[in-house]
């Protein structure tokens, strides 16, 4: 700011003007912002056509977070010289802070400030444009929690807009119930979730995802008996869904139906080879159905895929017990040791 000010003063500077400029700068440097504001106000009075004078005054108020008083001098500065990016940024921020998102947007556009522009667009109700700007900003600062917060809000707004459209469409009620059910499930409101999902299912039995969500709901309650028919129905509706086949197999396994479980889990493994959760359950089902070779292969594959995970611990435990049963003591001891070491390292 200082070079701009001095350059502007070069033709019109007076001793009094210089005195107030220097006093203002010193006060600001010393952190005495009210004094700096007084001095720069005097500068504005002495040189009202100088954009830099208004910028300095506005920036002091901006520093003081007095956005209302910062607005007028910054506006005046930009009337005198529209090509001041810093002033645009400050004015945009001041306007946004006062709730004038629409007014703030052109200033952020001129200043090329993606994150603030995204926020302003979001607050102005332009969620789709906001997503673009916030995604661009996120490329520069991938883990920024504020950006992630606003971006999730933007997507949430988009989702809500679409949901509102869906509600008004003829025949949209089933999907509305499905969405409400899934949202309630995610929020842990299980009773509500079940009500909405059942309502959706009563209207249409052919929609993928509803049975799955119900199955997940019952699974979270530990209710395998009620989860099993839901996953069975989902697997029928979506025969190429590996995750539906896995969940169906998992339910069967816990209900003491290892042969059926092995079949379904094997199918899940074919649809999505190497999924560790599937391999663990498949291995258990194969042990229970007397197929130690297949079980060993499944557990070994899991360990290859995820050698340091909790699932790998389970695979080592299963292998140690399988080998013990097969009288392969050395192998059993090796797996037990691997389990112990992995548990220690993961603590």
């Amino acid at each position: 700011m200082l070079p701009l000010l001095l350059l502007a003063f070069a033709q019109v500077v007076t001793p009094e003007l210089r005195q107030h400029v220097e006093a203002g700068l010193q006060a600001r440097a010393a952190g005495d912002l009210p004094r700096a504001a007084t001095e720069f106000q005097r500068v504005v009075e002495l040189a009202p056509e100088l954009p830099a004078a208004h910028v300095n005054l506005g920036s002091v108020y901006f520093q003081m977070k007095d956005y209302e008083r910062a607005t007028a001098p910054l506006r005046r500065a930009l009337q005198l010289n529209p090509d001041l990016p810093g002033a645009h940024q400050m004015l945009g921020t001041a306007l946004l802070a006062q709730g004038a998102a629409n007014e703030a947007i052109p200033h952020f556009e001129k200043a090329h400030i993606d994150d603030l522009l995204g926020i302003a667009l979001l607050e102005a109700g332009r969620a789709r444009d906001a997503v673009d700007r916030l995604e661009a900003a996120l490329l520069q600062r991938p883990g920024d929690p504020d950006l992630l917060f606003y971006l999730s809000h933007a997507y949430g707004q988009l989702s809500k807009d679409l949901f509102d459209r869906l509600r008004t469409q003829p025949g949209g009620e089933t999907r509305v119930q499905q969405m409400l059910g899934e949202a309630a499930l995610a929020a842990g409101q299980r009773d509500q979730a079940e009500k909405h999902l059942r309502s959706a299912l009563a209207a249409r039995t052919d929609l993928r995802g509803i049975h799955f969500a119900l199955g997940e709901l019952y699974l979270a309650n530990g209710d395998y008996a009620r989860a099993e028919p839901e996953f069975r129905a989902e697997a029928r509706l979506a025969p190429l869904s590996a995750v539906a086949a896995y969940k169906f197999g998992l339910a069967l396994l816990n209900l003491g139906k290892p042969a059926e479980a092995a079949k379904e889990l094997g199918r899940a493994d074919q649809l999505h080879p190497g999924m560790p959760e599937t391999l663990l359950s498949l291995g258990k089902a194969l042990v229970a159905t007397g197929n130690p070779t297949g079980a060993e292969a499944a557990f070994q594959k899991l360990i290859e895929t995820e050698p340091n995970s909790a699932l790998a611990e389970a695979a080592h435990l299963q292998l140690s017990q399988l080998f013990r049963k097969l009288n392969r003591s050395a192998d059993a001891n090796r797996e037990l040791k691997a389990l112990q070491e992995l548990r220690r390292s993961r603590r």
């Binding site: 842990g188 299980r190 395998y224 816990n254 909790a310 435990l317």
Partner: protein, 484 residues
């Protein structure tokens, strides 16, 4: 927690009586010093004497048990510690434990023997060195006191998870005779395992002639103390396959019991857990190893919604296949607010065994309660195993078995072995039962053993390995003396 309960014929009239452990009053869980108001009769433990008509009479005062020490009561264990024919009583709790000697005249005397500091929970009597005197194992829960209490739960307060607290060692006492006990936890190797104990069960799982100890732990690996036959124990749960679930996860291990659910002659093991964890059933494969059997027996799917505490593996319907009985209730009384799919109050459950090796739920038609301890015994000496469930904040449930099939209740009287016959194994055809009043959760069961049907001949293996074959007289209740 809390909710200890025991069955014992304390007055020798041939009818089982019921002892109920009360916790105490906690006005303010963070106020010190703790005063559990055990001096108030309303918070005393209770002894209910069974009358000839099957009803029960409060005999607490008459038996000299009204004045409870200032501990928050937890569990109970029962054994004839001095082989005088009168069952003695051990009561655990937060703040200490007490051994009550049975005076043989319907009264008890509190002693300072086998006192355990801290927070003792389940306890079990066993003759670990086969010297004919029953020793005592006491599980302890956490290293916690009121001065270091912390609050957990958002937005609703709930009990903190056990991983917020340090564990503590369990305690083993050797019975020195004459009613005296010596703490051998260090020399026996018990003290080297730091746990978060809950239920305790005893059986000779590897058939080497010496009883072993399973101690359920809350939230960490379970303990299986293998008896090394020289007065020491080695913790072998992981090697034996009972430390973890089949997913290699620790669980809330609460109640525990041994029993031969598959009639192969070996003691299998069940551990009750919190909802969504499934009860863990371990099949004894022989050679000292177990396999997780909750999946193959369908027990996983049956129990995964439930939170179990007291538990027993017995043939309740006398059909030749062992069943599993469990008292149930979530540990959090506000669990519905935290997880709307779970319930705090639950009815006790019976999972019936069947020829195909799978369990099936059987609706007992009981109310949903906060069940904790569960004890099993033949209350009316009809050869059918009854159950008593303790209920937090409510009356116990006394459940008389109405099954149609016959059974027989055997009272074993040891002479060289301990008088209770604890540790004896009884075989009749495909049935094998293990004599022990231990197991379940905070509870002590009828020391007698139960067989289904009307077996003509039985084989008893007494502690130490001596075998005895007996022809059984007809009738639902039989006493068998150990041959000298």
């Amino acid at each position: 927690m809390g909710g200890g309960i025991a069955l014992l014929d304390y007055d020798g009239d041939g009818r089982l009586d019921i002892f109920v452990v009360n916790g105490g009053k906690l006005h303010d869980p963070v106020r010190l010093p703790p005063d559990f108001r055990r001096y108030d009769p309303a918070f005393a433990n209770r002894l209910y004497r069974q009358l000839p008509d099957g009803s029960f009479q409060d005999s607490t005062a008459r038996a000299g048990l009204l004045n409870s020490p200032n501990i928050y009561g937890m569990g109970a264990a029962v054994a004839d510690i001095d082989n005088d024919g009168h069952p003695d009583l051990y009561v655990t709790g937060y703040g200490g434990s007490v051994l009550y000697r049975n005076n043989g005249n319907g009264t008890f005397t509190a002693t300072a023997e086998a006192s355990v500091p801290g927070w003792s929970v389940s306890a079990a009597f066993l003759d670990y060195d086969n010297d004919g005197l029953l020793d005592l194992f006491v599980a302890r829960y956490l290293d916690w006191d009121l001065g270091r209490n912390i609050l957990c739960g958002t937005p609703f307060h709930s009990y903190c998870r056990p991983d917020k607290f340090n564990g503590v060692a369990n305690v083993l006492f050797h019975n020195e005779g004459g009613g005296r006990f010596r703490d051998v936890s260090q020399s026996a190797g018990i003290a080297s395992a730091i746990g978060k104990g809950m239920g305790v069960a005893v059986a000779d799982y590897d058939a080497d002639g010496f009883p072993d100890i399973f101690a359920a732990n809350d939230g960490i690996e379970q303990f299986l103390f293998h008896n090394e036959r020289n007065g020491t124990f080695t913790e072998r749960a992981l090697e034996a396959g009972v430390a973890l679930s089949d997913d290699a996860r620790s669980f809330a291990g609460m109640g525990a019991a041994f029993g031969d659910y598959d009639n192969d002659g070996r003691p299998d093991l069940i551990v009750t857990n919190l909802a969504t964890e499934k009860f863990a059933l371990y099949r004894n494969e022989g050679e000292g190893r177990f396999l997780y059997a909750s999946l193959t027996t369908a027990l996983a799917g049956l129990t995964s919604r439930h939170s179990g505490w007291g538990v027993g593996i017995h043939d309740f319907d006398n059909d030749g296949y062992k069943d599993i009985f469990a008292s149930q209730s979530h540990v959090l009384d506000n669990v519905e607010r935290i997880h709307s799919g779970l319930r705090y109050l639950e009815p006790p459950a019976l999972y019936r065994g069947s020829p195909d090796g799978k369990f099936r739920a059987f609706d007992l038609g009981l109310p949903a309660v906060a069940g904790r301890g569960a004890t099993f015994g033949d209350l009316n000496n009809d050869g059918k195993l009854d159950a008593v469930v303790s209920v937090l904040g409510g009356s116990p449930l006394v459940l008389l078995n109405r099954s149609a099939r016959p059974g027989v209740t055997l009272r074993l009287v040891g002479r060289r072995a301990n008088r209770d016959g604890a540790g004896a194994v009884v075989r009749a055809g495909s049935q094998t039962v293990f004599a022990s009043s231990s197991g379940s959760y905070l509870s002590a069961s009828d020391a007698r053993v139960h067989l289904s049907g009307s077996p003509a001949t039985i084989e008893i293996t007494w502690p130490g390995g001596r075998k005895q074959t007996e022809k059984l007289p007809p009738g639902p209740s039989v006493t068998i003396l150990e041959k000298e």
